[in-house]
Amino acid sequence: MGSDAQAGTFAVVGLFSKPDAIIAAANTIRPQKLGRLEAYSPYPVHGLDHAIGLGKSRLGALVMGMGVAGALLALLFEWWTSAVDYKLVTGGKPLFSWQAFVPVMFEVTVLFATFTAGLAMLFVFNKLPFFGHPILHSELIKGITRDKLALSIESTSAAFDLDKARTALVEAGADSVEVVPFPVWQSPLSLAGLLRTIGAIFAACVVAGLGIYGAEKMVPIVPPMFHIHDQPKLNAFRESSFFADGKGMRPAVAGTVARGHLPPDFKTPEEAGKILANPLQLTLRVADRGRKVFNDHCAVCHGAVGDGVALLSRAYGGKPANLLASSAREQPDGYLYGVIVLGKNAMSSYAADLDDADRWSAVHYVRILQRAQNAKDEDLR
């Protein structure tokens, strides 16, 4: 055998018919270091992996690592979404409720672990995609896919010697030995093949699209969820023969007051100024809230500093009150509160937009603006 024949050889393969025989053969050939050993079998043979010198698979450790990573990632994400980014109390539970997180952690663990196991097994450890293994072009493959087992000595290592490998396999008791050459490869990626693939995908899209379009046109389709809006229950805007007034809606009993919406016990802002005092203590948080309320609701007309000059007044020529003027400064807090609740002149009531604390915070903020614009000497010290 010349070196040319050796160079074109993928492996020397011996065929065996008993699992015990192939394990014994592998055990005698492995110490001779003739080349990388590989085995082909139609069914799993326990101990064969050890006999051909396969080490411990790293797949298990990888899967464990990724599983743990999945659990931690899920925990991190759940903690961040529910305890940091969007704090929403659910069912009176703490924001960080690990009990509720466990099912998702479990699912993500399984997801990461199974995907790692499947993908790493195929693409990392089995080195797929691999078009056309040389052994598929051999004569032996018919036996391997039925009931025979094959042991191959591959030519990848420098120590590989065709004749020695063949002798070793015969001596180890192989039923037959075959030299498997590298097949002549055809490049799997050609321009024509690529164009054919793209063309086929395009044709499939056209056919599917036209098919669905035609089906939609020709086959009368039942409106989706036909029955869901047609339930026999009573809706607020539906007629009812059950109630005397013939309406489905049950209005609140006369005199009902919604929680937090007690009507004010004053008729005019002046009256409010006499009976009300600001219940909120001025703190940094209250001031911040007041600024937000003022900027969101008041500043469009009264101006960002409260001087009555703002976008809206310039555009429409209205004359909103200058809150910095002495007329506003001398009014009690209750008066300003009363104006917010009842409105004044062209200003309408803001009672529906602002709750009690919002209004009083805004009053505090107006006082802050007034003081800032009329600062005395001692304020600067």
Binding site: H46, K56, G60, M64, G91, G92, Q99, A100, V102, P103
Partner: protein, 385 residues
Amino acid sequence: MSNQAPPSTLVRNLLLAMVLLGAAGAAAVYFRVGADRFWANWILWTLFFLTLGLGNLFLVALERLVGAHWSVPMRRVPERIASLVPLSILLLLVAILGVPALFPWTRPEAAHNPILVAKSPWLNFPFFVIRAAVCALAWILFYRFYVRGSLKQDSDKDPSFTVRARRLAPPFVVVFFFSLTIVAFDWISSLEPEWYSDMFGVYLFAGTFISGIAAMTLGVLFLIRRGRLPEVGSKHYYNLGTLGLAFTVFYAYIGFAQYMLIWYADLPEEVVWFKHRIEGPWQPIALLLPLLHFFIPFFLLIGSAGKSKPKVMRIAALSILVGHFVDLYWLIFPIFGAPQFSWPEVSMACLFLGLGFLQLRRAMGRGADMPVGDPLLAKGLEWQL
């Protein structure tokens, strides 16, 4: 039998001394500390033995049910551990005397508790005793059938027993699940009769099965080390590791599912049971449970290497067994408030551990170490992973 060392009388005498000492301590507990403490310990140990025994009897029947070969050479071990069943039946029948001392639904005040009145068709003393007796009868019949039959097969080599054992396995499994659920609801859950959880029977089954596997593993490894199970190796007990791994996960799943649903719903009458058990003085024990019952065995057994190493298997099995005992303690003892562990528990443990080991030693000497008459034995010995 030929390769067995003669039973040492020293160990037997030590165990007897333990029983006597423990019995003296137990008497002191009964008369000095209180009947309720005595009976709580009694029930704890009775249920521990009962679950170990039934778990192993279930393993024996499971092998017949699914037609497994790998476990045949080791089957004498679960058959011997199942000898805890008759012992615990005896203990359970005695424990009926302690029912009035321990169970609130037996007390006259129960007539004024609307929940207990509504439950009284089930929770009343005569029916309770009838249930216990029917369960005990079923267990002893199946125990005699499986264990005596298998011992008899050693000498007469009658293959028809294997067929009959397979045919009776499905009814046993049904009886096993029903009776174990009754034990869970009657003997544990009704200690706090207002509380109720659908899952509780399954929870006890999970603990029973996993601790049965753990006890069997310890027994098999013990006999292998003594050289009494020749030709049985890691390929056989590897499967015990696999089953153990699967069912620690099952136990954790059931235990957590029960807890999470009750935590989520937050119904006062349900949640208070867990509140006693996971907050305050019981918290360390509640944290110990998942560690012993799940995390330690899970991480020891998840790799293929651990399942074929006797040392790793032994640690995992011990962790599960201790975990199962702590589990039962955690289920029963909160009726006294804070965890009680003092000389009464130690002396009762002495008494029952002595009794249990004496019974196991007696069973260990019975018959050959492998079911030599079983026609499937050869197949089991040459079984490959």
